[in-house]
């Protein structure tokens, strides 16, 4: 995982398999960055995520609640068809914006 910081925007570049094991680390690192860096927007980059289970949904929902509490937003891009199936059934696409690519996500989040 890599965190790219750009002004008030934090781009979280995930990689590998997003399960419960990995979710714990994402939660710790992203929350620490948000709480110390003053970010108002989190953009999740899923381009390099090959697998995700419902732990990923919990992780996105948790960050959504965090950002909502400080008046910020969460969005995502780079969703594969496997991920999209999971995101669609969870209803999470109703609360966060999903974009086709990074440019659109950055534009949409600004």
């Amino acid at each position: 995982m890599k965190l790219d910081k750009n002004g008030e925007t934090l781009v979280v570049r995930l990689s590998g398999e997003l399960d419960h094991h990995y979710a714990v680390r994402i939660r710790e690192m992203v929350d620490a960055a948000v709480l110390t860096g003053g970010f108002r927007r989190i953009i999740f980059d899923f381009t390099q995520v090959g697998f995700m289970d419902s732990s990923g949904i919990g992780t996105i929902m948790g960050r959504y609640k965090l950002m909502q509490a400080i008046g910020g937003s969460v969005s995502a891009f780079g969703i594969s068809s496997q991920l999209d199936k999971l995101l669609s059934m969870s209803g999470i696409k109703k609360i966060i914006s999903v974009y086709q690519n990074e440019q659109e996500a950055v534009r949409g989040a600004s």
């Binding site: 398999e17 399960d19 419960h20 094991h21 979710a23 714990v24 939660r27 697998f51 995700m52 289970d53 419902s54 732990s55 949904i57 919990g58 992780t59 929902m61 948790g62 068809s81 496997q82 999971l86 059934m89 969870s90």
Partner: protein
């Protein structure tokens, strides 16, 4: 029951084994003529069942999780079992968005994902004895 082929693996309740379990099952199922989407569905369902066993079944206890996978005449049958706390109210546990551990950011979607991605999911559990989840998927 006579299966066309079957396997069984056992591992301790460490979260690093979630990946091992789903990849092992996928590798076994790959001997059948399956699509990438079907394999992905199976991996996701196995991941949910094994994570449930780790997070809820054993919680802070140490224990082993058994995953069995059998190739049947029309698909696969996967059994994930633990000897942990057991589930008091299975109907409640299976409800979408219900989680007994909200502090862990569980989405409460585990059983819903299993039910959506597999054709049949049966849960049997007894408090203090453990939980067994049997999932079937038709592959034809």
């Amino acid at each position: 029951m006579d299966y066309r082929n079957d396997m069984k693996i056992q591992f301790p309740n460490r979260s690093s084994n979630e990946g091992f379990a789903r990849v092992a099952v996928a590798a076994f199922v790959a001997q059948l003529d399956v699509t990438v989407e079907q394999l992905s569905d199976i991996k996701t369902a196995v991941s949910e069942a094994v994570t449930n066993a780790i997070v809820h079944g054993y919680e802070h206890m140490k224990g082993y999780i058994t995953v069995e996978c059998a190739i049947t005449d029309d698909g696969v049958e996967i059994t994930v079992s633990d000897s942990g706390h057991g589930i008091g109210d299975i109907e409640k546990a299976r409800q979408p968005l219900y989680t007994s551990r909200p502090e862990l950011e569980r989405s409460g979607m585990g059983f819903t994902v299993m039910e959506t991605f597999m054709d049949e999911v049966t849960v049997t559990s007894a408090l203090g004895v453990g939980t067994t989840v049997v999932m079937k998927k038709k592959l034809s």
